[in-house]
Structures are given as C-alpha cells and as structure tokens.
C-alpha cells in the first residue's frame, strides 16, 4: 500500500465521519463543521489521485482543484454561518425546524 492510498482511505473515513455528524446533529454550527470535514475528506482523496505512486510525476491539476475547493468551501461556510445567524435571530434557536417541534 502506498502512502497516497493510505491517506485516500483516511479521506474516505473523514467523509463518512462528516456525513454521520451531518445527519445526527441538529445544531447548524455542527452541521457546517460536518460539511467542512466531508470536504476535507474529498480533498484528501483528490490529493492521493495527484501522486498515486512514487514513480509518477506529481499532477498539479488536482492540487489546483483542491485550492479552488478550499476557497469555495470558505465562501459556502461564510454564507451558511450568516444564514444560521439570521435563523437564530428570527427563531431564537440555531436548529432547523423539524418534526420534533411538531411532536412535542
């Protein structure tokens, strides 16, 4: 197993951890963190694609895509945080209204 493959598997693990947290937690700040962790997992897999083995020339295209991804992630995070603050200002809670509210 190469180093890149090992980190790619770690990336798949990060994606799964993030997906789990995204579905389980109700607080929106936690969901935003979860989406960011999922993104980092995807970036790790991409970076592993850039250097699949020691012989191949390191591929700059995935690296450029990851940098693009990091910037898009920070833009999305910033917008999501402002949306969360707006929702909190309106409802007093940083959770999405769901079935729980109707049942209780």
């Amino acid at each position: 197993m190469s180093v890149a493959l090992f980190y790619a598997l770690a990336g798949a693990g990060l994606f799964s951890i993030g997906l789990h947290a995204l579905l389980v937690h109700r607080h929106l700040l936690r969901k935003i963190l979860a989406v960011n962790v999922m993104g980092s997992g995807v970036f790790l897999v991409l970076a592993a694609m850039a250097a699949p083995n020691a012989i191949a020339l390191s591929d700059p295209v995935p690296h450029a895509m990851i940098i693009t991804g990091i910037v898009v992630a920070v833009a999305a995070t910033a917008l999501a945080l402002v949306l969360m603050l707006k929702l909190t200002a309106e409802t007093g809670q940083a959770v999405l209204p769901g079935r729980e509210e109707e049942n209780s």
């Binding site: 190469s2 180093v3 890149a4 090992f6 980190y7 790619a8 598997l9 770690a10 798949a12 693990g13 994606f15 799964s16 951890i17 993030g18 997906l19 789990h20 579905l23 389980v24 937690h25 109700r26 607080h27 700040l29 963190l33 979860a34 962790v37 790790l44 970076a47 592993a48 694609m49 850039a50 699949p52 191949a56 020339l57 390191s58 591929d59 700059p60 295209v61 690296h63 450029a64 990851i66 940098i67 693009t68 990091i70 910037v71 898009v72 992630a73 920070v74 833009a75 995070t77 945080l81 402002v82 949306l83 603050l85 707006k86 909190t88 007093g92 809670q93 940083a94 769901g98 079935r99």
Partner: protein, 313 residues
Amino acid sequence: METLISWAIDVALALLVVSLAWRALASTDLFKAIVLFIAFGLVLTLVWVRLNATDVALAEAAIGAGVTGALLLAAYAKLRATSPDAIVDRAGGISGIGAISLLILILLVAAALGYAVWTLPSDYTGLGKEVAANLDQSGVSNPVTAVLLNFRGYDTLLEIMVLLLALLGAWSLGITIPRPEAAPGLVLDTLSRLLVPLLILVAAYLLWVGAHAPGGAFQAGAVLAAAGVLMLLSGRELPAALATWPLRLALVLGPATFLMLAVITLILEGRVLKLSPEWAGRLILIIETTATISIGVTLTALFMGAPPGEEDR
C-alpha cells in the same frame, strides 16, 4: 529504517486527523468543537506537506484553518450575543432504531468509498506530463499557478465569482452585528500595529513568489484578510469615506479584471482566457494582483458579516 520512520509519521498524522475530526464533531461543547476543528485544519496542513502539495498546504493553513476558524469563532460570538440558548447543542433527534440503521448506512457508505479508493488504478499517470510539457507556454514556472491561472483559468474565474456571490448573499440577509463586548486593549493594539504592515508585505511576497514557487493569489489574499481581521479585532473601523464606493471597487476589482480579460481573449484569440505565451506572465500577474486585493477585502467583509456603516441599525 527511513521508510519505517516515514510510515510512522504518516500513520500518526492520519490517526490524528481522523480523531480530531471525530472529536470536533462529537464534543458536547460547541466552542471546543470549533477549536478542535481549527486544530484539525492545521494537522491537515501537515498532511498536504507529506503529500508534496505545498501550495495546498499554504492554502489550507491560511484559508482552511485560519480564515474559516476566524469566521466560525466570530459566528459563535454573535450566536452567543443573540441568544445564550442558541449555543447549547442538545442531543440529536435521532435515537433507537433510527440511529442504528443510520450507523449501518454510514458504514456501508464508508465501505463503498474505501473499496472505490482501494481499487483506483495505480498505473494512472494523471496530467502531470502534459502540464510539464506546456509549462514554458504558460508564463509562470509553478505548475499549480499555471493550472489555476492559465490552463484552467475559467475554474478560477468562477471561483472568484463564488466568493463575491457569497458576500452578496451574506450582505443581503441584513443581519445586525452586536457591538464588541469589551475594549480590545493595548496589547492587541500593539500587535496589530506591528503585524499589519508585515502581513501586507508577506501577502505581496506570496503573490510574487507564486509564479515560480508555492504561493499565489489565494494564499496572499487570505494573508491580507488576516491583516483586515486583526485590525477589526483591535477595534479599528473602516473610515466612513472608504465604506461606500471605494470598498465596492476593491470587492469587484479582481472579478471585473478577470472577466474583462475573459471577454477580450474571447474576441481576440477566439477562446475564453487563452493567454498568448508572450503576454501570459504579465497578464497572470495583473489578474493575481487584482484578485489578491479583492479576495482579501471579500474575506474581511465576510468576517464582518454585514456592510460597514450598518452595524447599529
């Protein structure tokens, strides 16, 4: 022996990254979660270095850990100021059979992803050779900058637009910013006086060095944003005279220059962002310089969350 040490470092880093992500997403305290998430970003930076992706490492440290961390902490403070109840993370709404079936589903997803990654062809060579072959046509000698600003310039154009759109979205929501709780004090003020000029210098250096070594507009823009955030934290405000059209000009300078170049190349060269080799180096420097200014100002504005001058509505 050397490979053994190398593997030990990689295994330790991977375990640290995964466990930090897990703890950030599982800890009951939201503040702790944010701090762990920032630590996660910093350890991930070391992973990028291990994977020979130094450009990505710089971007991760500056944007992924730095700017995102500042945004998260600022949002946490605003959340607490809005309602003390809102920072309490109550246990999830899923329990019992739902939680177990969800866990099974996630494990299936993880297994499928792991299998897909495991079976990736190992003789895949990527585009490294093609980029290297055309590098002398691109106007820069750092392959990542060549891909970002020349070979796949439209990606970067759209990316800068996304950043601007995010700011427009944030501004249009019209949230109010609570006043800072306490005066910043002398120490932070002194730090910002010492650091802001140095940060601007570092941003210029990163921008310049991006042509032939790891660096570039996004890393430089993030460093500029760090200077802006530091000034905001130490109690300085944007003068009212600059908060009107000069601020808007700085925000659209990068996207507008890039877009204009896209239109000009479409007309003259027949293809969007086709940079002719003899001009490419200079054009990339112009795009990157304007983009750095706009990225820095946009990220600082995103940190503020609302247009300056509208804090006290």
